[in-house]
């Protein structure tokens, strides 16, 4: 590995983290919105939703975290697009730096910034009554799944950011990802849904991921969910990575 890899990477990370902390818009969308949704679901809709548990915050939190990640990676795509369009990508690529850090800096930023927003959301959830009996290993498993989900979505975002023709295009791909948790077991149990919707809900990635995280946090046996969740995350990540690299090579 090139001796400058870590120093170049830290410059890239520092740069895009500054972009995030200087953009009120980003902070609102990736942290405040998911918290607002959590408040809305717990204190407005929650009373009418029957999940079979007495603590709806516990039930809801995994889905909210996935929504936060989907909002977060929309900005990864946006920042990548701006870099390519503004010519700073070319400036970096014509410099004697470790080239891969130009793209990986954005990926690392996505991981770090999503970790921060997830931490803030969990703290708010704790105030709202979220409780978990999970031990260190279960928490590590939850962190692992969330990190894999973030990476998978980040590479999808990279495809969009690198190949989009307009700013709107760079962000639009995130809407289905934001919507997916609503047609899953994230907010209500799937058994109340009509058959067609239910079949979709039970077989899309978000349900297995949400169920796995929920079981881990409640110290219940996770069963097959965790393997299905991991398979989805790794599968999406690898496929998206291949296409993102193809889009990247076209640009570079």
């Amino acid at each position: 590995m090139n001796k400058h890899f870590f120093s170049d990477m830290s410059v890239m990370l520092g740069r895009s983290m500054r972009h995030i902390f200087r953009s009120m818009d980003t902070i609102i969308t990736v942290t405040i919105m998911p918290i607002a949704e959590m408040l809305l679901f717990v204190y407005v809709f929650g009373g009418a939703i029957h999940t079979g548990t007495d603590n709806y915050v516990n039930y809801l939190l995994p889905g909210i975290l996935l929504i936060a990640i989907a909002s977060g990676i929309a900005y990864t795509s946006y920042r990548l697009f701006i870099d390519v369009q503004g010519g700073i990508f070319e400036r970096f690529h014509s410099m004697p730096i470790v080239r891969s850090t130009v793209l990986w800096g954005h990926v690392l930023t996505s991981l770090v910034s999503n970790a921060i927003s997830i931490l803030v959301i969990i703290l708010v959830a704790l105030i709202m009554g979220f409780r978990s009996s999970a031990g260190v290993l279960s928490w590590l498993a939850v962190i692992g799944i969330l990190a894999l989900y973030t990476l998978a979505l980040t590479w999808i975002a990279a495809i969009a950011g690198l190949s989009a023709k307009s700013v709107d295009g760079a962000g639009a791909f995130a809407y289905p990802l934001l919507f997916l948790p609503f047609i899953s077991s994230a907010f209500v149990p799937t058994k109340s849904m009509p058959t067609v919707v239910r079949v979709f809900a039970e077989n899309q990635p978000v349900t297995s991921i949400v169920d796995a995280i929920r079981s881990l946090l409640a110290e219940r046996p996770v069963g097959n969910d965790i393997w299905i969740a991991l398979a989805w995350c790794v599968g999406i990540m690898l496929a998206a990575y291949v296409f993102a690299m193809r889009a990247y090579k076209k640009r570079a």
């Binding site: 400058h4 410059v11 500054r18 953009s23 503004g86 010519g87 700073i88 070319e90 970096f92």
Partner: protein
């Protein structure tokens, strides 16, 4: 004279569009070389190949003694690119932009490097403002200042005055001349004829994928019939009028 850039039989096509069909030229060290051509002639394509952003289909290009295809890392050590659009980070401040590039060039004292350049380019007062608040001219000055970090031997300026107002354009010209006086080789593309005339030691004209003329301004003038002496009343150009009025205004303000 040593050569900073040697290009031989360079070819590049985008699908069926043959942009470069055999480009040959050389640039001597320490001179200002202007590549002139209309929009879409392939000037930017040449710049991209020479700065290792794009691979050629045929021919060779050697920059500072290194082949761009086989030794891109060594080429990148020797050059700096100021692209067609000011490639600056809008969200960072001017100072942060300079420090960022100094760190990426692995210099020991990025802060001092940034301070010196801010001073030299008259950006000290705006140093801690976000670049998104800068005028076009200030942005371009910052852009060029970023390109000077690490003292590259060859600087590529792709249409450096495109979209600038006359004052900012003169500022850029002054900077380019200073660079060349300090021994830096400047490779410049432009579609403004007066820019090439004003700045360049040598001018090459790119047309339909080939260099159709290459030489000093005097050489190029010889291609035309000898000048006839005609008496014409010297009228001030609009640019001169504009600058004169602006200058007066500034004096009044002071």
């Amino acid at each position: 004279m040593e050569k900073a850039i040697q290009v031989n039989g360079l070819q590049k096509s985008y699908e069926k569009l043959h942009v470069l069909t055999g480009v040959d030229f050389e640039v001597e060290k320490g001179c200002i070389f202007a590549l002139l051509g209309s929009n879409g002639a392939g000037k930017t394509t040449i710049v991209k190949i020479l700065t290792t952003l794009l691979k050629q289909d045929g021919g060779t290009a050697v920059v500072n003694g290194f082949d761009v295809a086989s030794k891109p890392d060594s080429v990148r050590q020797s050059i700096s690119l100021t692209g067609q659009f000011a490639a600056v980070d809008e969200i960072l401040t001017g100072r942060e932009n300079l420090i960022m590039i100094a760190k990426l060039r692995h210099l020991k004292n990025p802060r001092q490097v940034a301070d010196a350049l801010l001073n030299r380019f008259g950006l000290t007062d705006a140093a801690d403002r976000r670049v998104s608040t800068y005028s076009g001219g200030m942005r371009r000055r910052l852009d060029i200042a970023m390109s000077l970090i690490g003292k590259p031997q060859i600087i590529f300026l792709d249409e450096p005055t495109n979209g600038l107002d006359p004052e900012a354009r003169l500022e850029v010209w002054k900077t380019v001349k200073e660079l060349a006086n300090n021994g830096t080789t400047v490779f410049l593309t432009t579609q403004y004829l007066d820019e090439a005339e004003h700045l360049a030691d040598r001018i090459a004209i790119l047309h339909e994928g080939k260099i159709i003329a290459n030489g000093t301004l005097a050489d190029l003038k010889k291609l035309f019939p000898p000048a006839k002496a005609e008496y014409v009343e010297k009228q001030p150009t609009l640019e001169e009028i504009f600058l004169a009025i602006i200058g007066k205004k500034e004096q009044k303000v002071q």
